[in-house]
Symmetry: C2
Subunit: 367 residues, 2 copies
Amino acid sequence: MPPVYAQKGAPSRIGWQLPPFYCPFNENLIHPKAAELEERAIAWIDALGIYPDATERAWGLATHSADFTSRIIPYGDVETMLLFTQWNYWAFATDDGQASGSASTADLVDHSARLIRAVEAPGSGLLPPGPHAAALEDLAARTRATLTPFQLRRFTEGIRDWLFGESWQTSNAERGVMPQLNEFAAMRMSVNGTRFTLTWCDAANGIDVPADVLYSAPVQALTDAAGFIVSCDNDVFSYNKDDDLEPWEPNLINVLAQQNGCTPGEALPTATALRDRVVTLFVRLRELLARDADEQLARYLRSLEHWIAGDIEYHNRAPRYASPRNCNELPVQGASYDITWRDAPSDASVEPLPIPAIAWWWQQLDA
Amino acid sequence: MPPVYAQKGAPSRIGWQLPPFYCPFNENLIHPKAAELEERAIAWIDALGIYPDATERAWGLATHSADFTSRIIPYGDVETMLLFTQWNYWAFATDDGQASGSASTADLVDHSARLIRAVEAPGSGLLPPGPHAAALEDLAARTRATLTPFQLRRFTEGIRDWLFGESWQTSNAERGVMPQLNEFAAMRMSVNGTRFTLTWCDAANGIDVPADVLYSAPVQALTDAAGFIVSCDNDVFSYNKDDDLEPWEPNLINVLAQQNGCTPGEALPTATALRDRVVTLFVRLRELLARDADEQLARYLRSLEHWIAGDIEYHNRAPRYASPRNCNELPVQGASYDITWRDAPSDASVEPLPIPAIAWWWQQLDA
C-alpha cells in the first residue's frame, strides 16, 4: 500500500516533508512476532478498558506501541516485550489523558509520587481507583514477577527519571520559560524516558551488563547520546502533532528558533545538523567501546543501534505522528511520513558540539 | 560537661523531654577520627566560603554533620567519610538557604534538575555561579573520582529520589495539603534522603552487595524500614525546631494529630508506638536475612543498625536540634536532648501496621 498523506493540506511551520535521516546502522528490522504482540496487547487493553470511548481507543492504538517494541527489540523475548508494550500503551493513555500544559507542577509531582510507589511499594493504594490504576496494578505486579531485582530497580529509577523530566518540562510551562539549548540538551533524555525504555530492551534481549560496566562514564555517555538522538527524532516527528499547543512545545526546533531568533522552518536544518553530529559521536564512541567489549556489552551496544534505528522506522509509520490528531478526526491507517535517508551526516564535523552539558560525551573518546 | 538545656522555658507543643528511645542494637559507637573529620570539613567549608556570614556559619556547624558521619559509620574509611561529611554540610546549607515553604514546586523542580545534572553531566554549567555552585562542582568532581561507577549511579539516583521527595513535600505545602498517614509512610524515606545516605555508608564501609541481592524485596524492605525509623526519629528531634512554621510541618506527629483529631502532644505516644513496631519488624527481618547472609550482606545489615543507632545519638547532641534556631540567637555548644532509653518497644505487637504502603515489609518475613 502506498503511503497515505493524511496531513496533506494542513498548515505546518516546518512542512510535511522531513529532512533525510542519517542512520548508518539502520537495517529496517522488525520482530517476527510483531502482529501477535499487537493482537495480545490490544486484547489486554480491551479487557482492562483503559480508554473511555472508541475515539480514545482509536488514538491509543494509533500510538502503534506494539510496532515500536517490535522494531526496537527485533530479536527479543515475546513475553517480556508484551509487558513492555502494555506499559507503553498505558503510558501514552496516561500522558495524553493529562491535558498537556494544564496540570500544575505541584499536581504532577504528587501524581508521580503515587505512581512510582505503586511499582515500588506493592499494595500502597495511593492512586484513585479506576481502570488506569487497575491496569497499573496489573502491570506492576507482572513486572515485579518478570524482572530481576536489579532490572526492577533500574525500571523504577527509570520511571522516576522520566517523571522528573516531565515535571521539569511542566515547571517550564508553568513559569512561561522556553529552555535554553544547554538546559534542553541536559534534560531531554529524561523527558523522553530513556532509562525506562532501555531497562526493557535489556530485559527482553536478555542482556546483563555488570553494573560497574553499564554505569561507567563511556557507556553512560553513549547511552545518553543514543537517548538524545532518539529524542531529537521524536521532536521532529512530533512537531506537527504539537504545533497547536500554547505555550509552544519545548522541542529542539522551537528551542533553536528561540535561541537563533528564526522561524521553526529555518531552525529545522540546524536541528538536523546538531542531531547528525551526535550520531557521528555515537558511531565513533560505539566503535571504540566495541573493541574491548565482552559479549554482554557488545550486545548492549547493538541494542542501542536497534533502538535508534527502530525508533525512526516506527515514527515514520505511526498514525499518531503521520496523521496527527490536531488535523484529523481519527487516525488514518497506513499514514506515513514516507521519510528519506542520507548516507552522510548533514554536518560532517567531528568536533564536540558547543553545548556544555553534553561536552563530556566527546571527552570519552580520549578516555 | 552536663547537658545544657538551651531550650528550657521555650514553649513546645510536645515538650522538651522526649519519650524514651527503643533501639536494642545501640552501642553508642563513634569513629576514632571524628575530631579530625570535623576539623578538615570545616577547613573546606571556610576555604569555599559556603556561608554568607558568621551567624550562618555557626548554624551550619551546629548541624554537626561530621559527628553524624562519625556515629553512623563508626569503622569507615576517613577520606570517603570526609567527602560525605562535606556533602552533608553543603546540603544543609542549600536546604536551609531555600526558605522553607516559600519556593514553588515549579522552582524547586527546576533547581533540582540543574543540581542533579551537575553531578551526572560534568561541566554542564546549569547552576547560577557562586560559592554554593563552586562547592558543588568541587564535591561532584571528587565524588566521580572516589566512587565506583555503580556507587556513583546509586548516589545520583539517591539525590534524585531525595529531591523528588522534597518536591512532593513542597507540592503538598503549595496545595495546602497535610498528607494522610499512608501517603506519609510511602514517601517519608525519600524526603529523608535514605538512598543518598546509604550509598555513602556502603562506600565508606567498603561494602559491595551485588545488585540482585541489594535490590531484592527483603533487603529493600529492611532498607526502607531503616529509613522510616530514622525519619521518624528525625521528626521527633526536629519537632520543636520547626514548630513555628506555617503551614505546619508534615512530620509524623502532625500527620497523626490531623488523622486522629488530637493535639501533637497527644499524638506523640502514638508516633512512638508506631515507630517502635517498625523497629521490631526491622529486628526480626534483619535476623532472618542474617541467617543466610554472606559476608557482604552481613556487613550491610550491620551498617543499617549503625545508621539507626548513630542517628539517634547524633540527634541527641546536635545543637541544630537541641538548641533550635527558632528559640536561640546562636547555637548552644553542649546542648542536648539528654534522651533516655527503653529496653522494650512501647507497643509490643508484632503485627503489620495497618498502613497499606508499608505492609509489604512484614510480608517479607514469610517470603
